[in-house]
């Protein structure tokens, strides 16, 4: 399978006065091209930090300590972290763009939608005229089913939450990127709008062949809309595979817990169980496997040995758990 981005042993630390907080810990993953890959994790699991490394845009005092992030663009492969500031400015948004968490607040409140689109286009294409910019904007606003005449001259406060989110999606498409990062795109929206936005994203994914990286904590959204899923916990990758494999086989105890703790209308109410305990304290990480204090299958080796990611037999399914030795499926 072709890939678009590859994380290689990425470590991100937030450097504080007395200690270093490791938000992303030795993360390696290849993101497939042309697919929707979901990155699932609770708050504090490091998913937003990881996504911001793709734009080399980790907020201070965070720092990418080591690792490589390879971008596979057509005929050339390069490490995003090696780009100098001029090249990086060209790279951002035109190759990888991002729909930020809380689109409600991501737009400039004192500029109209068109002014903001035009400003972005102008930075990347200096010779663009207003008419050309307008044509591009109309094209993308229509793609996200917005009435451009209404939206064009509107200020953000005149639009509803769902409309602003669609404006942000159009915004992310503006420079024809090959990968879009979607950071919790529907958290503040209700189910009907959520479904509408995801169907729109799926259409964009299929028609324009744009790869997507979807960050979310809602596992039911993943099973409905994504193709591949990576599960993150305490800054580490716990499981990766196709949505079908991960959801039907339920290999990793954490993934299993996540699936079982999510209420759903088709499930028996008694089968819904919470995961005991609290998410890990990043300043005081558990030894061995990060998940062992909350795991119902933990045994004597779990607090001592940090498991390696192993490839399961059914291909392209990675699990980080001592229960699995890889190769064959012995439990």
């Amino acid at each position: 399978m072709e890939h678009i981005v590859e994380f290689k042993n990425v470590i991100v630390e937030y450097q504080m006065k007395h200690y270093n907080l490791r938000a992303v810990n030795d993360f390696s993953l290849k993101i497939p091209r042309g697919k929707i890959t979901a990155l699932v994790g609770e708050s504090g699991s490091g998913k937003t930090t990881l996504a911001s490394t793709l734009l080399n845009n980790v907020s201070k005092p965070g720092k990418i300590v080591s690792g490589e992030i390879l971008y596979y663009g057509g005929d050339s492969v390069y490490n995003i972290l090696d780009l100098d500031s001029k090249k990086l400015n060209q790279f951002r948004w035109s190759k990888i763009s991002m729909v930020f968490q809380g689109a409600q607040n991501a737009l400039n409140p004192i500029m109209t939608i068109f002014e903001q689109f035009y400003e972005t286009l102008k930075v990347h294409r200096h010779d663009i005229t207003e008419e050309e910019a307008e044509a591009i904007c109309i094209q993308y606003l229509e793609l996200v089913n917005l009435d451009y005449e209404k939206v064009f001259k509107a200020y953000p406060h005149e639009l509803s939450g769902g409309m602003k989110q669609r404006v942000m999606i159009a915004f992310s498409l503006l420079l024809e990127p090959s990968l879009i990062i979607l950071d919790e795109p529907t958290t503040a929206l209700d189910v009907i709008v959520q479904d509408y936005i995801f169907k729109l994203l799926k259409k964009i994914n299929v028609e324009l062949k744009i790869s997507m990286l979807l960050l979310t904590h809602d596992i039911s959204v993943v099973s409905k809309y994504a193709d591949y899923v990576a599960v993150m916990y305490g800054g580490k990758l716990m499981e990766y595979g196709s949505v079908k494999n991960v959801f039907t086989q339920k290999r990793h105890p954490y993934t299993k817990g996540l699936i079982e703790s999510t209420p759903s209308l088709d499930k028996d109410i008694d089968s819904i169980k919470p995961i005991p305990g609290n998410p890990p304290d990043l300043m005081n990480m558990p030894s061995g496997c990060v998940f062992h204090p909350r795991c119902n299958k933990a045994f004597s080796a779990c607090p001592i040995t940090d498991p390696k990611l192993v490839l399961l037999e059914n291909g392209n399914h990675l699990v980080k758990c001592l229960l699995y030795k890889g190769g064959d499926d012995n439990e």
Partner: protein, 331 residues
């Protein structure tokens, strides 16, 4: 069952100032809401953003005074003949969505819990209040309580803060807790445990709950066996038991809501299913037309839907729809 709260013909209007020389606009948020809440009962208000569910919750708690209509607490009108305002105020408690904003950041958990009890029971000695605080913290699963007493809200996780808010609400021995999206900002793996605590408070202490949400899946988990009011644009469009409504939704809007909820099963093709709605745009609250407020989005709308609508009783469910035969025929 004893009646606890009765809402009678509640209307709520907010005034919106127009441009200079223009008439003031009136936003009609609630339209003729009638509802009874009995002791020990769980009621869910469900609907999308802007449907008035939070406004209705605030009216029940007494934070907002309705523009028209009456609220009765144990048969007494709370704005007129209420003999004991104190009893009403402590009997009806509110738990908000954002636990961080709901707790004073410069007060410790102990101080936040101490003040309301002291305020209500001035004669109670300090030692007794301290015991009560310990008891309530352990009731909501914060064990050992001493560990939390001297912490500040920012030192707790979202789930723990929401538990503190619940403990604070319970500390005044309420008859009813209005919980406004109490778990929407909490990680999926911890949501169930918060809902479990609320369930326990309901069964063990007999506290009634009003659960306000847009998430039908958690509503089904928490309020199975309780009542449900589906709201659309300030009206209750369907009113019945949770089981009836979820297994056999009658109103076209309820059907749309239920069809939008993702199911955790990658084998079910959910993407090809369209949501049964004409348009995504929610109707306008400012210039309401007579007749069905769902008219503009309803797939089954007929000309007669523009006449005033009345509730139809189907089984034990009250439905606000004028063309139910049409809806059922096409099912």
């Amino acid at each position: 069952m004893n009646e606890l709260i009765r809402l009678e013909n509640i209307y709520m209007n907010f005034e919106k100032s127009g441009k200079i020389l223009e008439k003031e606009k009136v936003v009609q948020v609630l339209q003729d809401v009638n509802l009874t809440i009995n002791e020990g009962e769980i009621t869910v208000f469900v609907g999308e953003s802007g449907c008035g569910k939070t406004t209705l919750g605030k009216i029940v708690v007494g934070l907002l005074k309705p523009s028209k209509g009456n609220v009765y607490f144990k048969g007494q009108n709370i704005n007129k003949t209420l003999s004991s305002k104190k009893e009403y105020k402590s009997s009806v408690q509110f738990v908000q969505q954002d636990s961080y904003a709901a707790l004073n950041p410069v007060r410790t958990i102990y101080q936040s819990l101490f003040a309301p009890i002291k305020n209500q029971r001035r004669e109670m000695p300090k030692g007794e209040i301290d015991n009560k605080i310990n008891e309530y913290l352990e009731l909501v699963g914060l064990k050992p309580a001493e560990q939390f007493l001297n912490k500040f809200p920012h030192q707790l996780s979202g789930g723990q803060r929401q538990r503190v808010c619940l403990a604070r609400a319970v500390s005044l021995d309420p008859k009813l807790i209005v919980a406004d999206e109490p778990v929407s900002m909490i990680d999926v793996s911890l949501r169930i445990s918060i809902l479990d605590i609320m369930k326990r408070l309901n069964t063990e202490l007999g506290i009634s709950f009003i659960y306000i949400t847009h998430d039908l899946a958690t509503a089904n988990y928490f309020a199975n066996g309780g009542k449900m009011c589906v709201m659309y644009l300030g009206e209750i469009v369907e009113d019945g038991t949770v089981q009836d409504i979820i297994s056999n939704p009658r109103h076209p809007y309820t059907r749309a809501l239920i069809s939008a909820i993702p199911i955790i099963d990658p084998d079910v093709d959910q993407l090809s299913k369209e949501i049964p709605l004409k348009t995504m745009e929610i109707g306008n609250l400012i210039d309401r037309h007579i007749g069905c407020s769902f008219y503009s989005r309803c797939l089954y709308s007929k000309e007669k839907c523009l006449n005033p609508v009345e509730y139809v009783l189907v089984g034990n469910t009250k439905v606000l729809c004028c063309n139910l035969e049409g809806v059922n025929d096409e099912k």
